[in-house]
Every structure is written in C-alpha cells, then in structure tokens.
Symmetry: C2
Subunit: 506 residues, 2 copies
C-alpha cells in the first residue's frame, strides 16, 4: 500500500523508521512545531507515539510535556492524544479540540491565542522562544530532497526553517496530483530588510511549488497512509440560509450602488454552517467570475469551483467532507489548476488582504449593541477556539461581515448583548453584523447610531424590548453619552446565561 | 506682511476672497473635509467665519450643521469654534478638543472614531457618504496650480480628490522652506487595481512634493497669516522618566540578545509627556543612527535630529512648541532634508508599518491584568480623544509598547484594573506594558502568565494586593480558568472611580 517512491531522496530514505522510533527523538520540554491547519495536513502517527512515551514517563513519575505549536486546529490524532497524555504545557496559536479546550478552561494547559498572520514572524523574531523540533506531514519527497507539501501549508515553511531537528511524515494517502498546486513564498525577511510582497491577484503565484529543507536537520522519516479529519458536511439550517440571503442581498445592493465590481472582490470565509450557506447562496446567486482569498477551502468553495462561479481559490489549507475529498481526488487535475495553497503568513497577511480588498465573513459568539465582537470566550472566562485569522481579515478587509444566529441554546441566550464579555474585534474593526433577523450596516456610524440599528436589525424579537430598555435607560443614566452603558448591569445578561447553563448541566 | 507670490497661479489668484465670503459657499448639511493633524496645518479663518454664519442661522431659527472630517485633532480656531456654534452634526475620525468632547459626551454630537489609516480608503470606497467641500491650508500655490503642502498632510490629498468644491487657505506664516519636504503618493488605487506600496525605508520617497489639484473645483482662496497651535512643551515628570528608563533598558537588552539591530528599527511615538521622556532618553542613550516612522513629529524628535541621534524622520505632521518651531524655521534647510511628511494613509499603513518593523510606543488610559488596553474611554462611557493611529501601529509593529503611569488622579485610581471598561487593543495586539513601576514583557504568554506579570511589574504597590486578591479569587471561583474573572465584580474598580470622581467634582 505504501509507495516506496514517495521518498525519492536516498539520504532521507535512509532515515525511514517507525513512529515510535521517531517520537523517541523528541525530548521532554521541547517546543515542537507540528503541521496541521483546520484538520488537514497534520502528522498522523508521531503525535500518538509521543503521547505513549509521555504516558510511560508519567507512570514512571517523570515529567514529560512539550510546547505544541501548529498552523491552526488539527485533529484527535494530534491534539486530543497529546492532551489526554497530559503532555502539553503550552499550546499556540489556535485549537478547536474538546479535550484541549477542557484542559485550558480547567487551568491545566497554558494557551496563547494569536492572530494567525503573526505566528511565523513572532518565531522568526525570536519572540516565542526556540523551536526544537518540527514534525511535518508531506505528500512526498523529491530526489533532491525538496518536499511536496500536503493538504495544508500553515506554518510548515517556518517550522522547517527554524527548528533544530525535523521529523517528516510522508503520507501516501495524500494525492500526488497536488504537486504544483502550492505556492511557497521565500521572499520574506526580517526588518529592516523586508520588501513588498509582490502578490497583486488572489490567484497569483510568487513562490515555489515545494518546501525547501535542510536535509542535515532531518532526524526521521515516517511513512503513513491515513486520511485527514474530513469532517462530514452538514446541510445549512434555516437560520444560516436567512443569514446567507441577507449577505447576498447586501452584496447585490453594493454592486448596484457602484461600490463593488460585478464580480465582487476576493472572498474570505470562516468555517462552519453559516459560511457554507453563504457559499451555497453565492453558488446559486447572480455573481460570476468570483475569486477567493481565504484561509481554508471547504466543500462550499469546491462546489463553486466545479460550477464555474468561482474561477480560482487561494488558501493555506483544504478541509473537505469525505464526499468532497472523493470529488477532489477524482478531479485533481481540474482543481489543482484553480487552487493555490500558501503559507499562512501570506494567506492572512494584512498587506495582501488590504491590497486585494478582501470581502471577509467570519462567525462570532456574540456582538454588543455598539458593535464590539466576541469571537473566543464563553461568558468572559472560558475559551471556545481562538481568534484564528478573523482579526487579520476583519481589520484589513474591504468589507467585513460578522455573522451569528441571533440566539443560542434554543433561544435561551441572546447573541446580541449590552456588552460583550470579551472583546476580540473592537468597534473600530466591525463593519457589518448579520443574524437571521437582518443586517446592520455600521459603516461610518457613531456608537449610538450603531446601537439603534443593531437592536432593530439583528436582535431576536424576544430580546429586542429588553435591549431597547437597556439602551434607553443607559441613554438617560449613563455618566457619558458617547457609549451609554450601565456598567453595573453591563454583564447581567451573561450572568443570567451562567445560571441558565448551570441549570441545564445540573 | 502677506506675500502676494504665495498664490502664483492666475486663475486661483482671481479666486482670492475674504474668509466670510468663502464660508458663505459652504451649504448647511454639507460634509466638509478640513485639513489639520495634531494641531498643525488646519485652516485658520474659514472655520471661524463658518461658525459665525451658523450662529446667525440658528438665531434666525434655521438649521445649520455640517459633517466635519479632518486628518486628526485640530485647534480651537477649528474644532472649538464650530462646536461652540453647535454646528457639527457628525465628527470624524479623531478629536482632542474640550468643547467637542463635552458635546460628544453630552450626546449632542455624533462621533465616529476610526483607525487613522482607514479614513482615506473608506472615503474612496464611498462608505462614509459624499464629501461636498474641502477646506485645506497650504503653504503656497505654484504657477501651474500645484499646491505646496503645509505643516501637516493628513487626509488632504483625499479631501482634494474627493470633494466637489475646494476652498484653499494660503498661510504665509508657514515656512516656504518646507517646499520639497513632503512626499505625496499618488499610486493608491481602489481594489482590484491596487499595487504594492513601494516604500522600503522609513525615509524613502515614493511620491511628489506637491498636492495635485483640479483647479476647476476651487471656489475660493483665502489668505491667512497665523501660526499653528504650537502647544508649549512640558518637561517630562519623574514618572515619565522612569517609564522611559524601563523602555530604553528593555531595548538595550533586546539588542544584546540579538533580537534588534544596534540602530534599532524605525520608531513610532504617540504624543505627550511620556513620549517626550522616551525620546529625551533615547537622545541621551546608547543607540545611534536611529530613524522614525511615525504620525507626528514633536519637540523630542527635533532634538534628536539636531543631535544626530536620529538620521531621518517620517510623519504626516509636525507639531512643535513655539521654541521648537522657531528652531525649525531658523534651520529649515537642515531639517527639511531629514524630514518627510506623507499622507496619513501611508504614514499609518499596515503594509508599510509591518514591512519596516516599526517600534511602536503609545499611551493608554488603562490596561487590565490580561493585557487588554483602553485608549479611548473614561469609565466605559465617555470618550477622551480617540484611537487615532495606535491600532494601525500596535497590531503591525515589530515591538508594541503601551505606556501609562500606574495611577491617575493623584493615586486615587489604578491604571491597572481587573477588566478595562472599554477595549481598543485586545490581548492579541498588546506586547509590552510599561508603567513607572516596571515593564511587563507579554510576548508569547498565556492570559494567566500575563496577569501575574502585569500585577507584579506594572501595578502600583498600593493596588498590587487588591489586584492579586482579585486574581487569586478569580482563579478559584471563575467558571472558566483560561481568563479567570469574577464577572459581577469586574468593573467594581471603575465603579469606585465614578464615586471618587463625583466626590471630587462636588
């Protein structure tokens, strides 16, 4: 089943070993940079082998934890197994794993939640400490030692450059037809030697199809044959459809007003149900010759490429359902010509995002009546996932949408609140808020103008009277009337939420 | 006293008229884009004349208000006179005027507080509505109609481009020796036609020394002869000196560790007492051949240029004390070779700031124990000034400092609090917090690691026990332990502040 020719370089062929043997080369206390972005292109075997070592060490009374750095979220074979082994001291820059989340929120794991465009340069600058080992999944190794990247690029270029030692997982389940699809930009420098990034079109190519690798740093090559996480696709629900309709109607009005070209501008879309609904809506909508400049390609973008609505898509990872992955693999020649996968410091770079004029659509947990957005925290204290690339895109986008259903927990919670319990995107960075109830276009508005609009357009009718009452009372009683608030009550909605949730879980 | 040859173009010479006659051309309800950035280069006469018209209209029972757009803050002759005439419906993108602030916080004036790098493009995109009239101070007009810019550039290029009609104030008090000092970049485009901004050095030149102007749009030329605001320079106090020492010691350690070049990287510095102390410290410090890439040049930067510590400075405005202005005017040949003034969409552009690797230093009102920063609001509801360029620089900087004395109101308030009452810079964007007590280097740290460090290094000893007590109790009682908080008490510190301040003013 394993294709021997996936490792064509003789030196690296001599380094082939078992995952257990490779994991034995990772010392306790190391900072380890692993591949993986939104459940794709992560190492499948070495993390599990490392977790077994950790458990053995712990059973013997020895400490064994690592600093775990990735591109973004990974999968149970990486995040969950290492967390279950209590082997992660510090996690960065993003996660979405249930076990990891639980340990972070129990105070057992440190978590540094970073803008995804910041990560690579913070490592180059030496600001996050030393990277000891890189564990990178690749699709193959050329005779000269260059690496065929896998289904995500993420921070792989940086991990390979910066780590003292490199472990490669060569996954023969990844389609070799992806060869040539990647664009690895090697023009980055540290200030004061930086030059402009020469990317001027979403589908432009400015780099190389392969990852360069200092072969003398490779300490192990492990062969694997396992699929990516491949999360099943969930059909958009009614609320997501309504949100999508509001977004598409708004884009149509902007085109009509002459503020957007008929083929729009490059689309960035967060992941999940609402994003899929918007993409499905665009696939059936009036706009042609669309492009995407985003983090992750999911099923919705693949559908749009197939239909021709989308002519090209740039991302740092693909993350498909099993059905979409089958389609991708069967039509790899068609797709690989239309998809470019880049390092995440390029896919998310403010310079490029602002230049291209990306249309950004990101999900959130809650927004407040003044347009501040919470993307990361439950009730102000527990992390959900992380900010990811939402800040990179939202602040630099041409248009920035934040979307959520107007309520959560079957209507028991309002996602529009007087004051968000944690701020990830400030009032200065949020342009358009959309719920199934409607769309609030906040461009150019003052806080008080925003409040009236958000309550009227976005809040659920069940919560609109209480939000209006809060706002009107704040308008009368607040010491300052620029951003009227009753500071003593500002979090009472989340406080009720705590009680509701406690009751539910009891 | 007025030099007739400041207006060398015959057509524009024919448009010379009084300020009253020019102001009569501005209709009620207009959006008016005026020049002015940090009290320099603003029109000196037309706003006052317009305010008189407004008062007359109001006395006659007629409505007369405008939308007032500028570069940043201006001076009493602009902001205060128009506010006193109750003539400003909507103000953007920044202000620091006492009368304007009072009206905003009384709920009488709408205020849209924007990232300064965003303003020009939001107008180009058509997102802030139509610009009717531009009122721009210039230092002179060439025979061919090109304009010699004044002591600030700000959004002048954009106002001149976008407005239907233009009023020019030609101020003969501005030194004509500034001619050639400006760099107006005309390569900007709207997506999808944007190209890289070709600036790769802080002192690079990528544009023209003059503002282009469609002469057919000029409806009036007004001659003036008045100085800029010229705020007196206040010598740094003891706390500012201590903050400066912490910053300079830190920079020295970074150079020693090999994470910064010996000549550092381009400096960005906010305005005020602490900024001046840091600059004075650098002027007496060990670093040579420094450069600046900032918004505003104040006395401190001028001192450093004179001493040779600073070899060049890029900004969008100069704002000096009367003494420094005298020095600037007397040595204009020396200074104009070392200073470049640019449009604010370039001085603050994320693309350029990130490329150059700016060292950003910005003041704040308060920080919380998790590293969130409030730059704009008093007690969560009243605006102080605005976010200005702090967000443009902080998120994209190589190193980002936020500085404040550890207490305010003679020790009655802690500037380190459990939770900031308004968030302008999130935990994802704040690297280093400095008070006179010490410096907290937050790079790569999790929220809990940050909390311990901020309390230990930055809080005043009088408040350290109470902050520690809050944090320890939150660590025990908080439902989530990623960002431990007692949401019911989070704002109790600001609430006490309200009481203290009420007592003081009673």
């Amino acid at each position: 089943m394993l294709r021997a020719d996936r490792v064509s370089n003789p030196l690296l062929k001599s380094k082939i070993m078992s995952a257990d043997a490779a994991a034995a080369l990772i010392p306790p206390g190391a900072n380890v940079g692993m591949s993986g972005f939104t459940g794709s292109g992560y190492p499948k075997l070495v993390p599990g082998a490392l977790a077994r070592r950790m458990k053995q060490a712990h059973a013997a009374g020895e400490a064994f934890r690592i600093g775990l750095w990735t591109g973004a979220s990974t999968a149970p074979e990486l995040d969950a197994v290492l967390a279950e082994a209590h082997g992660v001291e510090m996690r960065l820059p993003y996660q979405s794993d249930a076990t990891v989340r639980k340990q972070i929120n129990a105070g057992e794991m440190q978590y540094t939640d970073l803008h995804l465009s910041h990560v690579a340069q913070l490592v180059w600058y030496g600001f996050l400490g030393h990277l000891d080992v890189a564990v990178i999944e690749v699709a193959g190794i050329l005779p000269d030692g260059r690496l065929i990247p896998s289904s995500s690029v993420g921070n792989n270029k940086t991990w390979i450059d910066q780590a003292d030692k490199i472990i490669l997982e060569v996954n023969s389940m990844q389609n070799l037809g992806m060869e040539g699809m990647h664009d690895i930009y090697y023009g980055t420098q540290v200030p004061p030697d930086r030059q402009p990034i020469p990317l001027v079109r979403a589908n432009g190519r400015i780099g190389e199809a392969y990852l360069r690798c200092d072969l003398s740093k490779v300490i192990a090559v492990v062969e694997t044959n396992q699929p990516d996480r491949n999360t099943p696709f969930a059909a958009p629900d009614e609320n997501s459809q309504r949100i999508a309709n509001h977004v598409i109607e708004f884009l149509g009005a902007e085109v009509k007003a002459g503020r957007l070209p008929p083929d729009l501008l490059p689309l960035q879309s967060g992941v999940g149900n609402i994003a899929n609904a918007v993409l499905a809506g665009l696939n059936n909508g009036p706009f042609e010759n669309l492009t995407a400049y985003t983090e992750v390609l999911q099923d919705g973008m693949l559908d749009m490429l197939r239909s021709g609505k989308l002519v090209s898509a740039s991302a740092t990872a693909i993350s498909f359902s099993p059905e979409a992955m089958k389609d991708f693999n069967e039509n790899i020649e068609f797709y690989s010509k239309r998809i470019v996968l880049r390092p995440q410091e390029i896919s998310n770079h403010p310079e490029v995002v602002r230049r291209l004029g990306v249309i950004a659509m990101n999900a959130m947990i809650e927004a407040d009546i003044y347009g501040n957005v919470n993307s990361t925290h439950i009730k102000g204290t527990s992390i959900m996932n992380g900010i990811g690339g939402s800040g990179d895109f939202a602040r630099n986008a041409f248009l920035s949408f934040f979307v959520t259903p107007s309520t959560a927990k079957n209507g028991a919670l309002s996602c529009i609140v007087p004051m968000v319990s944690h701020v990830d995107h400030t009032e200065h960075d949020v342009q358009i808020i959309v719920t199934e109830q409607g769309l609030a276009d906040l461009r150019g508005l003052s806080p008080k103008q925003r409040a009236r609009l958000i309550i009227e357009k976005c809040a659920h009718p069940d919560y609109r009277p209480a939000l209006t009452e809060y706002y009107e009372r704040a308008l009368r009683e607040s010491p300052g009337k620029h951003t009227p608030h009753l500071m003593n009550e500002a979090f009472s909605w989340q406080d009720n939420a705590v009680k509701v949730l406690n009751t539910e879980s009891a």
